[in-house]
Every structure is written in C-alpha cells, then in structure tokens.
Symmetry: C2
Subunit: 204 residues, 2 copies
C-alpha cells in the first residue's frame, strides 16, 4: 500500500535501486513474514517489476538473506553506556524490545526451512549475521568488568547471556513490546542475584 521512499519519477539505478529493492523486501518480510513474501509484492512495493528482482536474486532464499543482511548493515545497534551494568542492561533490553520484529522475521525464515536447508540453526544464523565478534551485550559486559562490577571469568556465560535469552523468549511468546516490569524483574530479580551469587555476595 504505502510505497517506499523516493516518489520522484526518475529511473533509479545501481546502489540506489538495490537499496530500494532490499528495503521493500525487508518491509514485506516484516509485514507478511517469510511465507507471505512474493517477488510480485516486493516489485510492486519498490515500484518496479519482477525481472528487475530476478536479475539480482535468483530465488526467494537469496533475496530474503540479502534483505536481512542489508537491514542489519543499514540499521546498526549501538550499545548504551549509562554507567552501571544494571542500567545498560535495562536500556539494551528496551532497545531489543523496540526492534522485536527482526526476531520474528528470523524465526519465520527459520521455520520456513530457509536456514535448516542450509543446515543452520537460528542460533548459528544469528551468530553469522549479528555477532561478528562485536556483540552488543559483550560490550556492556566488558565495560562493567572494567568498572569491577562483574568478573567474566567467574560468572558463567549462560548467566551472562540470560537477560537476552529471556528477552528473546518473551518477544517470541508475546509478539509484543515487553513491559517495564519484565525488564526490571529480569535485571533485578534474576540477573543481579545470580551475579551476586557467583561473585560470592561480596559486592552486596
């Protein structure tokens, strides 16, 4: 319905066109899901025709992967820096909540067999797409470690990832923005007590 940006009537080419195509594909993905995405709809949304798409991506799978990659390149997430681990966590969880559609997109692609055909699990895809060494939560954890709030050698990795795992789970289950109570109880009621437990309760 609402066509993408650029209402000019000049003919687009190269990178400009490709961006518009991938943006349109991403929008279709978030709105219709992987199963509901068609070359037809993407072309129409980008105000062009199917051949233009087929010249670049031979099938749905490559198009979807390109669209996901393009989205993450275009809209990077930068980790917050509030001064405390708990504060950073709360903020990061809030950001994740805002961008929850992305999770749904990945998941629907996963369940549609897109990744499993390539023998990849969602976790692996996530690692491939997002975590090129620099994952957001590792940034805020490293800062907290530098401040002496947490010892990353003592607190198990499972615990370090816990807030994000729980957030991801919540997003998948509720399909909606998470509440502040959820974020608070995750940080203050689950994560921090565990950190204290592993840090020997000395910092409390």
């Amino acid at each position: 319905m609402d066509l993408e940006t650029d209402a000019s009537n000049t003919r687009r080419r190269g990178a400009e066109l490709e961006d518009a195509l991938l943006d349109a594909a991403w929008s279709e993905l978030t709105e219709k899901g992987h199963a509901g995405l068609t070359f037809d709809a993407v072309a129409e949304r980008a105000r062009t025709s199917r051949p233009v798409l087929y010249r670049r991506w031979p099938d749905k799978e490559t198009l979807v992967l390109a669209a996901i990659r393009h989205h993450y390149d275009t809209e990077p997430i930068d980790p917050p820096d509030t001064g405390t681990l708990a504060g950073d966590l709360r903020e990061l969880l809030r950001i994740a909540s805002e961008r929850r559609v992305e999770m749904a997109v990945m998941l629907s692609a996963q369940l549609a067999g897109l990744f499993s055909e390539a023998g990849m699990s969602l976790a692996e895809v996530r690692g491939r797409l997002i975590g090129q060494g620099t994952v957001w939560n590792s940034v805020i954890l490293a800062r907290a470690a530098a401040r002496g709030e947490i010892d990353l050698d003592v607190v198990p990795e499972r615990v370090q990832n816990l807030p994000f795992d729980l957030m991801r789970h919540e997003l998948l289950m509720t399909n909606a923005k998470v509440s502040d109570e959820f974020i608070d109880s995750t940080v203050d009621g689950i994560f921090m007590p565990l950190v204290q437990h592993y840090m020997g309760r000395s910092s409390g």
Copy 2:
C-alpha cells in the same frame, strides 16, 4: 510417503476416520510446517481425498487448530516424580526436549499469522491448549512445596517458570534436542541458586 497406520482396505467412518485425518494433518505439520501444509498432502497421507477433509474443516486454520488440539488430547504429558525438585526438573526438561517439534509447530503457526489474526499471542495459545489449570511444572512445584523444598509464595513466578522458559528458548534457537549440560546448568547453575537466594539461603 509413509502412509499412516491401518493398512486395511475397509472404508473408515466417524471417529476412526477423523482420528486418521487429524493424525495425518499433525504429521504434515511437523514435517512441512504450517506454511507447507496443504489439504492435498493431508488427504493423500490419510489415504483419502480432499472433499473428505473439506466436509469437516472449511479451511487450513481450523484444520491446523483441530490437529494441534487432537495431538495434545491423544498424547498427554505426565509430570515425573523422582523425589526431588531438581530431579523432577531435569526429567521434565528432558521430556520437553524430546517433544520439541510441538513447539516448532506452534511457533510456525503463530508466525504464519494463524493466531495473530485471532489476536492471540503464542503465550495465550499455549495457555489455551495446554494449561487448563493443570500445568505439568505446577505439579512438580507443588510437590516440592509440600516436601518443603520451596516456598511458592516467596520465590517469584518468573523464577518458578525460568527453567521452562529457558528450555523453550533453547529449543527455538537450536532446533535440536538440548544437551545434558544445558539441563544441568539450567537447574544447578541458574534455578537452584535463585531458589536459595529467595529462600534466604537457609536451606543450603
């Protein structure tokens, strides 16, 4: 390919036929996912024809919902009773891991818009289908409370559900059976420490 049970050549009717149809639908769901399920394939798998299906379920949505419901009715889960909370938890997580396909089915249905069209989140559907008051984990928690291992008024609900939330998350992310290490670290490294924390460390 492999047709369902009952290789007789008599013509099925009533409940017997309906069971076969829903079984076939469930199998298709687990193998092809919601998006990949067709009346055609279900009919063939049940060794019958499409009209037989259409006479009962007008569209894919009702068929899928009926198949899910039927599956849970036919294959109930009974909570383990090992004598300790940690033992029960480990066992229940193991069972959940075995039956992980069900989670994928629900999720793919969710993301295909089946439930969201009805305005329901996965959590609500899960509650509707599974938890008619008697949820498995509440059973083992209640037993543990009776033994004095845990005080359900003191340990927050979020924490009580934590092992299952984490298991569900793990299943969705990895698409595979979880490892024993995962189960152990969930129970011994996360859940039990939190229980101790909320129980005031008095039971340690």
